[in-house]
């Protein structure tokens, strides 16, 4: 392979370039440009995904020599999975929000910007997100981590409900709060490496430095808080439901599907990869928080009266599983977490977008406004149910593979935590099926009869079909993807210096 072309840079820059073009080309043409851009990125990203298996695409160029910052990109198993997730989700979201520029229902406020802007912003999110997943330099990681907030802020501001401004602000300030605390830690990384002789933000360089426990813990806390906000973990999750409630489902799908993964991604890449000692130190608390998130998110999902809030609370619960897996320190639990990140990306997007279809018809996402929808839109009911079943972790869907591997892996180390977390599978059934029951079954009201006049059209099928297919494929045949992401888990386990518990190490005679 000719390494003279910086392919990873191309991958990251490609959507950004298309984004700029889409900004420049006003109106519907710009929308098409953005879509083509997302397709091109998808093709290229999928190629990279496969090609990265046998090639090392790493790039490393000194960037700001004075502070030891490198423009360093590389792609490991986890990165590949996230790249795949991102490049697939974006075109799907663009199709899903294709009609965003035309006013559909009374509940929809006028869009603030032209048709091209949504696509352009989505591509910008994608580009920045891809850089985050590829960065192997802490500063670079941080820069793109923060950079993603801006287009996301505009995505929330531009379209959606009446209180979207407030929601966007909350999202931004919350994320920024995490981000700035992380900046504190990033500067700490500089201080530590500079103190050790040569300032460097490279993750590998940092991991090689011995430092005092206090510093390690301090940095860990800084990074972890940022990731906890991002991944939404209780108690720093409240921005997500508010945001999801106001933003258009497409934007939320990008947010939850791709951007929030940065949280768990960072925990593995940075917390475990750079600060293994402190990670072990914090494990008890983190595991407790994760378990609380799992149950708490599920309970709040049950009480939600708004479908979008409901789906976002399920994400809080699911992110709890990922964090639990990460901090259980077994190869399988970490692998499971990474796999679950991918699976959750697809399932949450599917569910958000399915809710979006409902919203486009009814102009509302309040559960009370529905009932008996299945009679008029059986296909919509079907895809909602399938997405919901994936969300509740039915075997045969990718989410189950993730959850199961996480919990199985975590069981020997965190028996009590898993024993509590597993109850979320019951709660998941309650929130998904209760919502389904209230929305789709029973006798339709007059409003429902009036507003739900059509089942899924071709475009909507094109949106949800691939997602469901992916969920099923990864559910029945997770092993290929597991092979991809296991590499990261093995590396991380080596860094942390933990070994897997042997069978029989618990409960033997």
């Amino acid at each position: 392979m000719d390494n003279s072309i910086p392919l990873l840079t191309v991958l990251g820059v490609l959507p950004l370039i298309f984004s700029l073009i889409a900004f420049a080309v006003r109106g519907r043409a710009g929308k098409h440009v953005a879509f083509v851009g997302s397709l091109v990125t998808m093709v290229f990203g999928i190629w990279i995904f496969f090609a990265a298996a046998s090639n090392d695409f790493s790039e490393m160029v000194p960037w700001i020599k004075a502070i030891g910052a490198w423009y360093a990109l590389s792609l490991d198993g986890m990165g590949r999975a996230m790249v795949l997730l991102s490049v697939i989700l974006v075109p799907i979201v663009l199709i899903a929000e294709w009609t965003l520029d035309s006013k559909q229902t009374d509940g929809h406020l006028e869009p603030r910007w032209g048709s091209n802007v949504f696509g352009a912003l989505a591509l910008m999110v994608e580009g920045f997100g891809l850089f985050v997943f590829m960065a192997s330099d802490v500063l670079l990681f941080y820069i793109f981590f923060e950079a993603t907030l801006i287009p996301m802020f505009f995505l929330i501001t531009g379209w959606g409900g009446a209180k979207r401004g407030k929601a966007a602000m909350k999202f931004l300030l919350y994320s920024l709060a995490g981000g700035l605390i992380m900046l504190f830690a990033v500067i700490g990384v500089y201080a530590v490496t500079a103190g050790a002789g040569q300032p460097s933000f490279l993750i590998d360089d940092f991991a090689a430095i011995a430092m005092s426990e206090t510093v390690q813990k301090m940095l860990f806390v800084g990074f972890f808080i940022a990731f906890a906000v991002k991944a939404p973990m209780v108690p720093v999750h409240t921005w997500l439901p508010d945001t999801a409630e106001q933003a258009v489902p497409g934007a939320t799908a990008l947010l939850v599907g791709i951007l929030d993964k940065i949280g768990t991604f960072g925990m593995i890449r940075i917390c475990l990869g750079m600060l293994p000692g402190a990670s072990l130190w914090a494990t008890p608390l983190v595991v407790v928080l994760a378990v609380i998130s799992i149950i708490y998110g599920a309970v709040l999902a049950i009480t939600s009266t708004d479908l979008l809030r409901l789906v976002s609370y399920t994400s809080v619960s699911h992110f709890g599983f990922m964090v639990l897996g990460i901090f259980a320190f077994t190869t399988s639990s970490i692998t499971g977490s990474i796999f679950y990140m991918l699976a959750h990306g697809f399932s949450s997007a599917a569910l958000f977008l399915a809710v979006g279809f409902l919203q486009n018809r009814r102009g509302s996402v309040a559960i009370a406004d529905f009932g008996g929808v299945r009679e008029f839109a059986p296909l919509l009911a079907g895809v909602f149910l399938v997405s919901g079943l994936a969300t509740l972790g039915l075997p045969g869907t990718a989410n189950f593979a993730g959850e199961f591997v996480i919990m199985t892996g975590a069981w020997p180390r965190q028996t009590a935590a898993v024993a509590v977390a597993v109850f979320a599978t019951v709660l998941a059934a309650v929130y998904v099926l209760w919502a389904y029951q209230r929305v789709f079954t029973g006798q339709p009201s007059d409003e429902v009869k009036k507003s739900i006049t059509s089942d899924l059209d071709g475009r909507e099928k094109l949106v949800i079909g691939p997602l469901i297919a992916l969920l099923l494929v990864f559910g029945f045949f997770p092993q290929p993807m597991i092979n991809v992401v296991e590499q990261t888990a093995v590396t991380t386990m080596n860094v942390v210096g933990m070994t897997d518990p042997l069978p029989g190490s618990m409960g033997g005679k």
Partner: protein
């Protein structure tokens, strides 16, 4: 104990066995065609659906016949699949295990299934979504076959959840009905509670043995501590309770009768609900090493068999009587499964015969409902034996079978369990015998109210015999109910000995132990009481009752009330409290941090008064403060 355990190592599949997956693939393909084909398949979809299960049945029969020709040691066949998840120490494969137990189950599922499919073609003829119904039914067959053919707990779990899903879809098939939707949800959620058990059991197995494969677990089971094995046994029991509607997770089954009657027959009587028994029998190697868990299984079985009988005795809804009866009969099976190696084969035996006569009873009930404009209240029936002779006869045969009149199927299969119960402990025996008596009572009550006595039909109801397509399955099933007991009485023990670890005792079909006679006597007493009580007038409306026994039975042992108070209201209140906490404290603190910042900002901005002199004052005070800090710094 451990040394007694014979572990069967399955041989790798060759020849016909390598095609076992076809059994699953055929209905899966059919289901996919029906689901994706949409309305285009409306006109012929139901026949394709029948074809699906028939294809499956054909494969199962072929395999069974092949297996009959094999030596016992080669009858357990393993069909390799693919790596599902293999990471770290975790190695999960998907593969099939075709052995005596699973093939028997597969035959039951596809055999009874085929009949019920045929029945459904007629029963659902006027439903606009009949195609969908068959798609779901095929989905169920797929999942059920995965469940019984899996060679490990994980794949079993896939089927386990799959049948749960199919059950959910079919119970709620008439989604416009609020009660159906609620019942479907309830069934799924309660089953999920049971699934917790299976999930934790699998986590534990991986932790203990590093595998969830049946063979691996059987081999390694001796290495684990009894405490963990007991835990494992209890986890599995929890799972079985959920799926098989055993106390305390029984409440969903009665509600599940909201589904179309063929569904009740197939899923909620003949096959799916017995999966819990299958699970316990499959895991016999674990239960053999833990007396406590086995005892728990027995207790659950006994309690449920009585509870089900109790409910059955008080209900007026024909399907709910049968549902209570199903619970009760599965209680027998569970009891047998808990008794150990000797009981395992009997549990499956009863499961098998029960599959036939209970399916027959349900389909008969469906036939009656068909005649009565879908009314299910027995108080509105009466004197149907004359207008529906075929239904009456077939129903009557299965009635005799279920209450255990020799030489019908139910007598033999139940007789073995009662005998085993007596041998396990007199209290189990006594209760099992008592249960048989109650069974006789409520079934007699059902017969009397439905087919005998006077007409109590509602206005405009003109009962008539059902069409042939409905009668054909009834006839076939009732034949099964007659002959299966005698035919299988000994054979099944030998057949199932390897997978259940049992030690068969051969006996002639006329050779009935004393417990059998006692039970028969009790049954006759039950029949007598039933006849006497329901021979006369029966009121059209359900009379109000203050009799606690009747009241509690009618209200499903107050399970719903309990659930309502504890989970719906209690849990709801807890959830509401969490939601308030989230809003007021968690989010509230963030919001108030925001308003606090603004408040402070607002207060501070007042210092910006616009008066130059006050600015000067601020500066001077600041200057003094700077001085103070400097001096303090020096002094410190």
């Amino acid at each position: 104990m451990v040394s007694l355990l014979e572990i069967v190592i399955p041989v790798e599949a060759t020849g016909l066995f390598s095609y076992s997956w076809l059994m699953i693939a055929i209905p899966m393909l059919v289901s996919a065609i029906l689901l994706l084909g949409g309305k285009a398949t409306d006109s012929w979809g139901h026949w394709l659906g029948v074809l699906g299960v028939l294809g499956s049945l054909a494969v199962a029969l072929a395999l069974w016949i092949t297996m009959l020709g094999l030596p016992v040691a080669e009858r357990a066949v393993h069909v390799s699949g693919f790596d599902w998840v293999s990471v770290g120490n975790l190695n999960l494969q998907a593969g099939l295990l075709v052995d005596q137990l699973s093939i028997l189950f597969a035959l039951l599922v596809t055999g009874v299934g085929s009949l019920i499919f045929i029945y459904s073609v007629g029963y659902m003829a006027h439903d606009p979504n009949r195609r969908l119904f068959f798609a779901f039914l095929n989905l169920f067959i797929v999942a059920m076959l995965v469940l019984v053919l899996a060679d490990n707990y994980l794949l079993l779990f896939l089927g386990w959840e799959g049948v749960g899903l199919a059950s959910y879809l079919l119970i709620g098939f008439w989604q416009g009905r609020h009660s159906a939707a609620l019942a479907a949800k309830k069934a799924f959620v309660v089953n999920r509670v049971g699934d917790l058990g299976l999930l934790t059991a699998m986590f534990t197995m991986v932790g203990l043995f590093g595998s969830v494969n049946f063979t691996d677990v059987n081999q390694a089971v001796g290495s684990a501590s009894t405490t963990w094995l007991t835990a494992l046994g209890l986890f599995l029991l929890l799972a079985a309770c959920g799926k098989s509607a055993q106390v305390p997770l029984q409440s969903w089954l009665l509600d599940a009768m909201e589904g179309p009657t063929p569904v009740s027959a197939l899923i909620h009587a003949a096959t799916m609900v017995t999966a819990g028994v299958y699970l316990v029998v499959r895991s016999h190697s674990i239960y053999e090493l833990t007396a406590a868990a086995s005892l728990a299984v027995c207790i659950v079985g006994v309690v449920t068999l009585l509870a089900g009988a109790w409910i059955g005795s008080t209900k007026d809804d024909i399907k709910k009587v049968l549902a209570g009866s199903t619970m009760s009969q599965i209680g027998y099976m569970m009891l047998a499964a808990g008794i150990g190696p000797a009981g395992g084969a009997f549990a499956i035996f009863h499961l098998f015969t029960h599959g036939f006569f209970k399916a027959n009873l349900f389909l008969g009930a469906g036939s009656v409902m068909h005649a009565m404009n879908d009314d299910t209240d027995m108080r509105h029936f009466g004197a149907l034996r004359k207008v529906m002779p075929w239904t009456f006869v077939t129903f009557g045969i299965s009635y005799l079978a279920i209450i255990g009149i020799p030489p019908l199927a139910g007598f033999y299969s139940k007789d073995h369990i009662v005998v085993a119960a007596w041998e396990q402990g007199w209290y189990f025996g006594l209760l099992a015998t008592l249960g048989a008596g109650i069974t006789a009572f409520y079934m007699t009550r059902l017969m009397m109210m439905t087919f005998f006595g006077k007409k109590r039909w509602a206005e405009g109801v003109h009962p008539h015999e059902s069409p042939k397509i409905l009668l054909f399955p009834l006839i076939v099933l009732s034949i099964g109910a007659i002959v299966l007991g005698v035919v299988l009485n000994n054979a099944i023990q030998y057949w199932l000995a390897p997978p259940t670890g049992g030690h068969p005792h051969s006996a002639a079909w006329w050779d009935i132990p004393w417990q059998g006679w006692v039970t028969l006597l009790v049954v006759l007493v039950g029949v007598g009481i039933g006849y006497l009580m329901y021979r006369g007038e029966i009121s059209y409306e359900q009379p109000h009752t203050i009799n606690p026994i009747v009241y509690i039975g009618r209200n499903d042992l107050l399970a719903d009330q309990f659930n309502d108070v504890v989970f719906v209201r209690g849990g709801g209140a807890a959830a509401a409290a969490v939601a308030t906490l989230d809003d007021v404290i968690v989010d509230g603190s963030v919001r108030s941090a925001g308003s606090l910042a603004k408040g402070i900002g607002g207060a501070l901005s007042k210092l910006e008064s616009g008066y130059a002199r006050s600015y000067g004052l601020t500066m001077v005070i600041g200057a003094i403060a700077v001085g103070v800090v400097l001096i303090l710094g020096r002094l410190a």
